[in-house]
Symmetry: none
Subunit: 214 residues, 4 copies
Amino acid sequence: MGAVKNKRMPRAVREQQMLDAAVRTFGQRGYRAASMDEIADLAGVSKPLVYLYLNSKEDLFTACIRREAAALTTAVRAGVQPGLPADRQLWAGLRAFFTHTAENPDGWAVLHRQARTHGEPFAVEVAAMREELVAFVTQLIVVAAREAHRDPSLAEREVAGLAEALVGAAESLAAWANATAGVSAKQAAATLMNFAWAGLGDLMENRPWTPPQD
Amino acid sequence: MGAVKNKRMPRAVREQQMLDAAVRTFGQRGYRAASMDEIADLAGVSKPLVYLYLNSKEDLFTACIRREAAALTTAVRAGVQPGLPADRQLWAGLRAFFTHTAENPDGWAVLHRQARTHGEPFAVEVAAMREELVAFVTQLIVVAAREAHRDPSLAEREVAGLAEALVGAAESLAAWANATAGVSAKQAAATLMNFAWAGLGDLMENRPWTPPQD
Amino acid sequence: MGAVKNKRMPRAVREQQMLDAAVRTFGQRGYRAASMDEIADLAGVSKPLVYLYLNSKEDLFTACIRREAAALTTAVRAGVQPGLPADRQLWAGLRAFFTHTAENPDGWAVLHRQARTHGEPFAVEVAAMREELVAFVTQLIVVAAREAHRDPSLAEREVAGLAEALVGAAESLAAWANATAGVSAKQAAATLMNFAWAGLGDLMENRPWTPPQD
Amino acid sequence: MGAVKNKRMPRAVREQQMLDAAVRTFGQRGYRAASMDEIADLAGVSKPLVYLYLNSKEDLFTACIRREAAALTTAVRAGVQPGLPADRQLWAGLRAFFTHTAENPDGWAVLHRQARTHGEPFAVEVAAMREELVAFVTQLIVVAAREAHRDPSLAEREVAGLAEALVGAAESLAAWANATAGVSAKQAAATLMNFAWAGLGDLMENRPWTPPQD
DNA sequence: AATGAATGAGTGTTCATTCAT
DNA sequence: AATGAATGAACACTCATTCAT
């Protein structure tokens, strides 16, 4: 049995307990391998109650995705101060991102690994969140280009590709940082900032980007 | 029923047909959702024959991973000429990578999405291949740094992080290029080269990296 | 379909129904040839319920063995009055044994034929019961020898062999009595008592052992 | 693979190899658990050849039963000298029986355990052999009774029961002797002779039957 | 005399889901 | 607000058996 059985709780609380159990189970076992039995057990309730509140396995998984996606985007947004220069904003966003994914490995696994692996209905859900992150990065690139008085004809698709690459690198580094002992969220963010802002070419000339002190 | 039933084929041929069907099914449905019935049907053989030749679902999936991993690394290696400068090598490797993944979407899905999502035995298989790619990139970075007479004390972990970010960006761009109409392998490679070699900072100052004519 | 479907019964009752069906099916078909489908059908429930309550075919078979072994030893023990002379005790035990096996042919088949034929895990279960019967007989022989003031150096292995022979004869006669029309439990017991107590030699000299009137 | 593959052997030899493999496999695994694959492999031939020569699994098992039954009855008959007194004949027969079963444990397992456990068609086969042994014992009892000038009205069923008990005890002791370290065929036979000829009652009075010196 | 290639039919087991209370 | 009882449908895997050579 999972949690201690506290009987007669208000629905909202029970639902969160179920989602907690579901995120953990889905994150560790995967969508198909996770059984409703295990989730109900871990949540400390009977299976019919899970169905009463969350309708079906698909709906339950979708609810997990939405909750974890909202938590992640909220965390990133909360970490960023809109007024700052583009590089400071990106730095702050990356730190928030790596911190949140490190602290919520199961939620991150649900979003990054499971949701995108198990068919359209779920991939669509997670795509919305990813869009938001990509849009955030895209806007930063555009703003930075404008600030640098760069040719405004910078192709939209080119920017989209860059943003995609940056987000992809971030996702990959999140997994790497979590799996590699001794790599903190801050270090992961610094690595990516160096890569993204200065590029390997600059690095070769010994001018790494330096994170601000905080 | 999937393929036309060609009866009485030598074992080696049948095995490749089964692997073709399995890669397609695993890539599209995922490991758990793919049924041995569907794979056998798509391969145009009966289920017992699949078991006779490939032993079990796990072994079949592992065989898929190995075949696709070998195909990908072979393609990348074949695309690279060892003698060239680091940036030319990276460029060639990326082009080969994006070309191969675009031409083998199911194989790429098996490697990138399914194998890493469904537990240790499979993740280990794919990790070996990824190690190879990361090692290739790592070595390029080290060589480039030496060529640029850069401080040789470049921390190992720092390089590892950069290589990880680059490979992660490549993996992410592969999915993006395949999903976005009109983005060729060459364009995806160029986008990533710009990002990796010059960085966003350089881009802001209007000095994009230019692919060589070929 | 086997039994009439009585829906919604408490677990304990359903379990007994399942064991009834399983003993019958295992006893008649054998362990391997008995299918869980048939057992579930005969019990009037669906297969998943059998698995929910009894876990697996192995566990189900083991549960059958334990139940039937307990029933048999209980019956034999209940038939014997400890204070009586050895021959009276043996007589009572044999009557109980033949009566019980005649009334529970499937249970007896499970114990005597199937359990001992299908591998260690089951043979071990049944061996415990057989030990008990052999021990009962062994102790009677020892007591009888003491009562007869016989040389107490009667070798242990000799006694073990005699007990083994007696129990083996009983097992064999149980099958014979059940298969031969008109042979009652009492007659089977009398035959074995004559054989065991007086031996063929005595029989030749016309001194058969006579069962007490009851 | 089991045996070394000697190609192109005469049919009669191949058949014996197959039966050897089948007896071993059936004896150790049981009828259902033994697979034709394993038997063919152990015999060093391909499965179709087994079917070509022995037709089906049922026929193969039946052939095993017949061969082993014939071997056992032949061994017992060969051990007995018809002219001798009844007790000497019984003694010789038992020795032959225990010796043969100890030397052919798989064959004995096929006859005693497997054949009687797996349905009518096989039980019938083995019953024929058992009849023969029971008949041999029955005749000995009748002869002994006549020699002892006993009342010739000795009920047929009574004799049948005694013979059944004796054979059952022998079967049981064969298993016991094989499983108990240090119990030889001769000792097993002596134990049973004591039990059968003198009975427990005589034993109590210290007059055990003594085997002749040979 | 002998076999590599192939399958129809079935088995144990699991799971998402519902009913009755 | 909550659950014990129950199942339809599917799935991985095996096996006796045959065909074509």
